[in-house]
């Protein structure tokens, strides 16, 4: 049948002179394609014009806590931590891309959604506390209070939060230099680099881009000493400055979903209520800060970027964490009197230390070099014995 049909008549040709038409038509295709790819790319890449005195910009950023906004940000952290059971929230947060949607009216009126392909996890901050909505678990958790010293969580990676938190840990004498401006989420943002002089921390420099008019940070890059690429970078993809829709700030509970109350949403919040007597007054040359009320077992040593955090661990959790670090195969065994394993990245170091009798154990963390962790671990083990 097919052959018979093929045999009939002449081919349907478009005639002569079509080679020219063909070239013209393909040229149109190529041109349209190039425009569609090129114009948005060129618009995105066009340089900003914003200029600001770096020192002034730094002050303005620090004072931007009362600037309200609504937006969407993507944070990319490449610390490449292995997944450790009991700490998986933190390890995944610091080793991948987090998509965040935020509404911010005031420090005590805010909401951050962590978006995933199949759901979301929303954290509401209200004047009376916090509420966490987990779509997957269909559960709204009303949280009493989290301590000041706590594990990193997704909303810490929003550009304004990250910039203000880290800049607060720098010294006033750390030099601030201007960076080329960038266009980020519609903002012509001025950039400032604060180079950290303190040798006690792994943080080499903080690059922050902010709206020069309001001081609201729109992008942050955290650089470690001796590493070329930023290890944490976060930037708004969409931003609207001004008060957010108040309706978006009300915690919602889906029909049929449960509600629980929890005194804290943070592992350190639970551990910090324990007994802090095994924490020495001084660790790796850093003095202990006054512990927060109700969290006597949270040891904060220093207030700068080079601070160390030490928290006593119950024996079973210490065993789980040590096992997890060993299984991940990425830990460094500490040469201390007891048992110790450290997860090291160019930026963050997290160690679990246990006395040789297994009775006392701590988690030790900070943006500090390995030597500081070693000396901190030794101090912890020595502290309780005297």
């Amino acid at each position: 049948m097919r052959d018979r049909v093929r045999g009939v008549g002449a081919p349907v040709a478009v005639g002569r002179g079509t080679t020219g038409a063909r070239v013209v038509r393909w040229a149109v295709v190529v041109l349209v394609g190039a425009l569609l790819v090129g114009v948005p790319a060129a618009l995105a890449a066009r340089p900003g014009q914003a200029q600001a005195d770096p020192g002034e910009l730094r002050d303005r950023i620090a004072a931007s806590t009362d600037r309200p906004w609504t937006g969407y940000a993507e944070a990319r952290a490449s610390l490449d931590l292995p997944r450790i059971p009991a700490l998986s929230d933190v390890t995944t947060l610091l080793s991948g891309v987090t998509r965040l949607r935020g509404w911010y009216a005031a420090p005590d009126r805010a909401r951050t959604d962590v978006l995933t392909a199949v759901g979301e996890r929303d954290r509401y901050t209200t004047p009376t506390g916090q509420a966490v909505w987990d779509y997957g678990a269909e559960l709204l958790t009303i949280v009493g209070a989290d301590p000041v010293v706590r594990l990193p969580r997704p909303d810490d990676l929003l550009p304004p939060a990250l910039a203000r938190r880290l800049l607060a840990g720098t010294a006033a004498s750390d030099p601030a230099t201007a960076l080329p401006s960038r266009r980020i989420a519609g903002v012509d943002a001025a950039g400032v680099r604060v180079t950290v002089a303190d040798p006690g921390t792994t943080v080499g420099a903080l690059d922050v881009w902010a709206d020069p008019a309001t001081g609201l940070p729109v992008a942050v890059e955290v650089r470690a000493r001796g590493v070329a690429d930023p290890l944490i970078s976060t930037a708004f993809g969409e931003l609207e400055q001004g008060p957010p829709d108040p309706a978006a700030l009300e915690p919602q509970r889906g029909p049929g979903a449960g509600v629980t109350r929890s005194p804290t949403s943070d592992l350190f919040g639970v551990l910090g209520r324990g007994d802090g007597s095994s924490l020495p007054a001084r660790l790796a040359g850093r003095d202990r800060e006054r512990p927060q009320r109700r969290f006597p077992a949270l040891g904060q040593y220093g207030t700068t970027l080079g601070q160390l955090i030490a928290v006593p661990l119950p024996a079973d959790l210490a065993g789980t964490l040590l096992g997890g670090i060993d299984r991940a195969g990425a830990g460094r065994t500490l040469s201390v009197a007891g048992q110790g394993s450290a997860l090291e990245t160019p930026l963050l170091t997290l160690a679990v230390v246990r006395s040789s009798d297994g009775a006392r154990a701590w988690v030790l963390a900070g943006l500090v070099p390995p030597a500081t962790v070693d000396s901190g671990a030794a101090d912890l083990l020595a502290g309780g014995q005297t």
């Binding site: 394609g33 209200t126 919602q252 049929g256």
Partner: protein, 340 residues
Amino acid sequence: MIGVELVKLVRRPRTWAAIGLLCLLPAVVAVFLATTRISPPPGQGAAFLSAVLQSGSLYPAAALALVLPIFLPVAVAVVAGDAVAGESSQGTLRYLLVRPVRRTALLVAKLVAVVVFVVGAVLAVVSTSYVVGVTLFGAGDPVAVVRALPEVTGDDGGVAGTGSGQQPASGPAGGQVGSSDAASGGAADARPGADTGDTTAVDPEAARERAQSSVSSLSGEALSPTDLAARLLGAMGYVVVSMLGVAAIALFLSTLTASSLGATLGALAALITSQVLVSLDAAASVTPYLPTRYWLAWIDFFRDPIFLRDITAGLWLQAGYVVVLMLAAWANFTTKDVTS
């Protein structure tokens, strides 16, 4: 011309077989879910699959999530890949073109037919899965809704202000969530007890109102049936548009070759390449241009407030693919010697 193509589409048994198979997959999944009541653990598996156990009216969304990654694009690639190449390989194209038909018009008619197929397929999947979902899972569990009545909303102090009086009601509700997570058959057993226990204290009027909106958005906001329908319509429209890029790729390839299979497989190869690159961090510089980059953004219709960023980007991206590839198809097809 368009009419002729549509009649051709409707008359082909293959069209109906493809739509039937697309509807079958969600139905099979629903039967397994309904008989075992084992839902995927939170945060894993296809979107909405855990939520449908509570209300079948969400099942159309779950069905979209099931067919979107593979089955729908395959069906679209088969139909669009066959559009021109099929005529060519059957030897009918030259007769078609001997008639006073402009080739551009023919291409447009083919594209319209493919779009109609996509719309029809998505509509069929959504409507059959709605029927299947409501039949197997019910249109929302009113008891669960009534239990959820003491809402954690209201004034500024809303969170702490839920107060002690409302606390007892939330206890059992939390328990029920736990049991459905653990995939026991507890939901059905819990009904009689809940009827006598929790409902006595609440206003029946309010309970009815709340029972009607027994589906929640991803952000926990209760969705009324109209709201849900509107969001579902938005998601369907977006899924249809997402398929246009595949259709354009397959249609373009279909003008290059006389083999429908070649065109279909070519389009699928392009999609798989795109899927691989989207998940590759190293390819971050090109991901915004990949056809499958924003495919999953339809789920953003179910967030609160609706998150339009990726949806808008996805619409522009698909429009770009359709424009460029249809232009390429036009450039190739209108200047091509048709020999078969």
